[in-house]
Symmetry: C2
Subunit: 410 residues, 2 copies
């Protein structure tokens, strides 16, 4: 790594690393709809690798070459990323898409893409001298911070809505984090985390606020690109809640584009549930800003946000890539869980299976051609939300232990 | 790969690959306690690599070099194995063991070590021309077979006790397997699966019966060895139910020992729950055979067997390695879940956390020295059994969204 600076994704103001922690001072106070963050900062590295790193994508040295840290030793010791790009022949055949891949990010240590962000955030927290990192989250981001912090010996304080999913809550508690179930919704938890970080001097990992969350998630894009190089995918489908994972994937590709290692950024296609489709609606209607969706609801808990906090940057990178957005029903999301699992062997939580549901819509709407190189990012394991998966499968009845009973069933 | 034969682990009779599918005919009918399998076959390759394969352990070519298949193309397309060997500094410090590693097999596609066995079994099933593979299992083995079969387009028929854990049941259904919940226990399911395979001409993946389960699981041993080469671990702790994972890990090391790539097999230490410790008891008492434990019980569902089916071979390889066995209480297993998670970032199900609980006992009993090179195999993710993990953590109360409430809690 050489040096880097932050640059505001709205007004392009550059900031020295030591002058700012979260967002652009000039943009932060601009009027914004709902809880959309203004002045999101992006990391701009002075130098990027101009050859593919020798190490394979599963090796820390591969990612470190693109990250704003001096070396792999600066990363917490938990192995994150290096997840497989699965060429699932059954799924390809079922969809008639011979160049389709599934990026299986369920293989991360806590079971979701969020580990990528937490890895870099905790690395920077340690570099900056913080002993505590805090985050507000409905589940996966908090769990990821808990896992990475456990490995690094850093204290994690997690602000979660009291109704967070059971599996995620138990998992973050197991990692030894201080969990604060808040009598309120995600927005309440988010604001309280922000205030508490200022009050108590903690480092804030909140998504769409801490610039290293996007920078960490960009490793998903880097790995996809490295796995397919020298080819470049035509389109990548990404489930969108706050829009940070999509922005991260886009950043990976745009860094590679800047470095000359690829010649274009793939079309980024945002997938949102119909009940929480603020970004997709704004894209479809050609608007610059989103309209919040009061009482947003979906079976995909990680995607259920009223006002996507990273909406502005997310829409910018989608448009710049020639991409688009698609909305999917809860029924399509639930159906996609067993469909993805039974055709690829990848078991996804609702928010992650949404990518496959979105692919159906994208094909219907002509946003993706069947012959194109397409990647669907699967962001979290189905074991995070077994009750949702249970709704999508038929439960077979118990049989007597006899061959006759077996014969009758098969 | 060159050729290979099967060899009976009891009477050393060799068999041509085409002459046998499951166990040694000469030994199969010998008297055995409970359901212990007699005449378990081992794969004996004509040639083994004499140099470490160029590909890293995460690449299919690495494993294929040691497996009884012609090339990586013969494997189902689901990426299995290549899981990280985690050097967890916090855990090392807490235990005073500077050369301790955690082999994190929760990162396999269905979340457990069993994927390794299923990968090879389905590869061989396809080679032999079977379109259906069946298995009896309390959970992880069936789930693994379902996942791998889904990716390969092979039919999976799963015989599971009707009271199998919810998460595992939903997961295998999601993969599209034909699930037959049996009104009976694991033994009933096992016998029924055996009879059904004969009746209907299906390939049988049952553990301790199909020789490729051990051969597939040996990849865990190969990867541990490759990650530490040229050093060799002094001891490896493995949770033991039927004893097939341990036998598999041992096979990996003994293949490497035969090939000259390492100079000894590490001491293998079996960890069983106190309520299902047939192998550990037989080892401790110096007996050749186990005594079944009627009504065996433990919070670690995958380890709860009355008569470990692979007991004979498992005890043989442990003794040959200079290893031993330790029994752990259910309380120690449950406590080990948050301890492992909070000190390493690896979240394990009870059966998998048992390895860490066993390490405590092994240290106490002087079976392992703190300065030795020790690996603990973590066989399945904690997300497989969230209710168990929930029993091991304290649930924090809900707080009001105010800084005062936060201050009072932290």
């Amino acid at each position: 790594m050489a040096g880097f600076r932050f640059r505001c994704t709205e007004c392009a103001t550059p900031y020295d690393e030591n002058d700012v922690r979260l967002v652009c001072a000039a943009c932060a106070d601009k009027q914004e709809p709902g809880g959309v963050t203004r002045g999101v900062l992006e990391v701009e590295l002075d130098e990027l690798p101009t050859n593919w790193p020798q190490a394979p994508p599963s090796h820390p040295d591969f990612l470190t070459a693109f990250l704003p840290i001096p070396s792999a030793e600066h990363l917490p010791p938990l192995p994150v990323g290096g997840t497989p790009l699965v060429a699932a022949p059954q799924l390809r055949q079922a969809l008639g898409m011979p160049r389709l891949w599934v990026k299986d990010d369920t293989r991360n240590p806590s079971g979701s893409t969020k580990d990528r962000a937490s890895l870099l955030v905790v690395a920077k927290a340690r570099e900056y001298g913080y002993d505590t990192v805090a985050a507000a989250s409905t589940g996966n981001a908090a769990t990821a911070l808990a896992a990475v912090s456990a490995s690094a010996g850093t204290r994690a304080i997690l602000f979660v809505p009291a109704n967070a999913p059971e599996a995620k809550l138990v998992q973050m508690l197991s990692y030894g984090a201080t969990v604060l179930p808040i009598d309120g919704n995600y927005d309440d938890a988010f604001e309280l985390c922000l205030a508490a970080c200022e009050e108590f001097g903690w480092y804030n990992r909140n998504t769409a606020l801490n610039p290293f969350t996007i920078e960490g998630k960009k490793t998903a894009g880097l790995e996809i690109a490295a796995s397919l190089a020298p080819e470049v995918p035509d389109a990548v489908l990404v489930p969108v809640g706050d829009g940070v994972i999509l922005a991260g994937v886009a950043k990976g590709f745009s860094d590679l584009d800047r470095s000359g290692l690829i010649d274009r950024v793939p079309r980024l296609i945002a997938v949102q549930p119909e009940g929480a489709a603020a970004i997709v609606t704004a894209l479809t209607e050609g608007r610059e800003t989103i309209r919040p969706i009061p009482g947003a609801q979906s079976v995909a808990d990680s995607l259920t946000v009223e006002a996507p906090r990273n909406a502005l940057q997310c829409m910018n990178v989608i448009r710049a890539s020639g991409g688009s957005g698609v909305a999917v029903s809860d029924e399509a999301i639930l159906t996609a869980i067993p469909r993805l699992a039974s055709l690829s062997g990848v078991f996804a939580e609702p928010s992650a299976a949404a990518g496959l549901a979105g692919l159906d819509v994208a094909l219907e709407e002509g946003l993706v051609e069947r012959g194109e190189r397409v990647v669907v990012l699967v962001t979290g394991t189905g074991l995070k939300d077994v009750p949702a998966a249970a709704r999508a499968v038929e439960r077979p009845g118990v049989i007597a232990p006899t061959l006759e009973a077996v014969a009758a069933r098969v």
